[in-house]
């Protein structure tokens, strides 16, 4: 059960979220690159928090003697409202900030019907509401390239196997299973990379290792299958070692790149996950 103090702490914490929401309400409509908008957000949030501290001090001095804890919450909320008021009308501020954005950026990020529908598509599928199209695309491209790269040991093994031996009689069946296996592997690789790129502060090592082991096992199984199907022989220890070694290196590389993209996105995600009610 929550104590009174814990509950009040949460309320005060939500006051801080109110400030974040207010800053986001002002900055989100500005057509500018996300890096510029992040600077605006941080400036406004730092300002609002300083203003709240100041207002809180003024009110606490005025309320000296009143010792009820409920007053603390009322003071905090009043301080938040006053800080918001001091900053000025959000719509006016949005317009003023928009005027400081270079014309090139304004044109590039103009709201045109196609861009709007793309933005909705992005919101639905990429689940990064509000993030600019080019930045999302850039992140996704990097991650897709890495995911495809993670499948490459299989292609290398396949190339090595096809240069030796004769095809088995059940080649069609092998081809079918190889196709299903490759697609599964590709999906797993995508899942691995995109999971690594989550903007969470703590990296999910256990999940990453689990997914990595599954990818490694599937790669080795696929090498066996392809060796049988295409060259009618068992995969050699050398082929398996090369495949496993390359896969492990690429898994580590993918995790590092995924984490790097996640780190890049984190400052934005903290803002973008805020839901602004119009």
């Amino acid at each position: 059960m929550k104590t009174d103090n814990a509950s009040m702490g949460e309320d005060l914490n939500s006051a801080s979220n109110v400030l974040m929401l207010h800053a986001e309400r002002i900055v989100r409509p500005v057509r500018a690159l996300q890096s510029r908008k992040l600077r605006m957000r941080m400036d406004l949030l730092a300002h609002l928090e300083a203003a709240v501290d100041e207002e809180r001090g003024v009110r606490e001095r005025a309320d000296e003697g009143a010792d009820e804890r409920a007053d603390e919450l009322a003071t905090e909320l009043a301080a938040v409202e006053q800080a918001k008021f001091r900053l000025g009308q959000p719509e006016e501020l949005t317009k003023s900030l928009q005027r400081t954005v270079p014309a090139v950026e304004r044109v590039l990020l103009a709201r045109i019907p196609l861009a709007c529908s793309l933005s909705r598509l992005e919101e639905r599928h990429a689940q990064v509401p509000g993030q600019s199209g080019p930045m999302t695309l850039g992140h996704k491209t990097i991650l897709s390239i890495v995911a495809n790269l993670l499948c490459s040991p299989l292609l290398i093994s396949m190339f090595s196997i096809t240069t030796r031996g004769r095809p088995a009689e059940n080649l069609a069946l092998s081809f079918f299973f190889a196709t299903i296996g490759s697609l599964t592997l590709l999906l797993l690789c995508y899942r691995f990379v995109f999971a690594a790129a989550r903007a969470d502060r703590v990296f999910d090592w256990r999940g990453a290792v689990g997914r990595g082991v599954v990818i490694l096992a599937l790669q080795i199984a696929m090498v066996f299958l392809i060796a049988f199907g295409i060259s009618n022989r068992q995969a050699s220890a050398g082929e398996l070692a090369v495949n496993a070694g390359l896969t492990i290196i690429l898994l580590a590389f993918s995790a590092i790149v995924g984490r790097w993209v996640g780190e890049l996105r984190r400052p934005y995600d903290e803002w973008l996950k805020l839901r602004i009610v119009e």
């Binding site: 300002h47 900053l87 400081t100």
Partner: protein, 144 residues
């Protein structure tokens, strides 16, 4: 003291910010506090208007901003610093302001004879001249 706000501050905010930064590097809120103190409470800014002004100054290269170093509670702040170009612009603005104050102050001052005479003339005379004609005539006379 009457407050100075809104339209009266339009066009001056950038120079005020430059002047505040001359006292040393500062983040947005501190700049605002410096202006409030310097204005003895008569200067009433919509606080949000400070940031567009800072971004304009930054775009012109008159100030430079950098993220604050070190850990602190709350969001990271950007510290604004006056550049050499900004200092030069501040000096230029100050001399322009001196000229402006001298000229306009001279006109508005209680001892400004020409305008006072002109005002009393325009009340007492009924010679059919328009206000502009009368002013031009007086100005020509003074010039000669």
């Amino acid at each position: 003291m009457d407050s100075i706000q809104g339209d009266k501050l339009r066009g001056h905010l950038e120079n005020l910010v430059l002047a505040a930064l001359r006292k040393g590097d500062a983040h947005g809120f501190e700049i605002l506090k410096r202006l409030e103190v310097a204005g003895s409470g008569a200067l009433q800014l919509k606080e949000g208007s400070l940031y567009p002004a800072l971004y304009r100054l930054e775009a012109e290269g008159l100030v430079k901003a950098a993220w604050e170093e070190g850990e602190r509670r709350g969001p990271r702040r950007r510290i604004y610093r006056l550049t050499a170009k900004g200092t030069k612009r501040l000096e230029q603005s100050r001399s322009e302001w001196d000229v402006f104050v001298r000229v306009i102050g001279g006109i508005l001052a209680p001892g400004s004879n020409d305008l006072r005479t002109f005002a009393s003339d325009s009340v007492s005379s009924n010679d059919g001249l328009s206000t502009n004609d009368r002013f031009s005539t007086k100005a020509r006379g003074a010039h000669a």
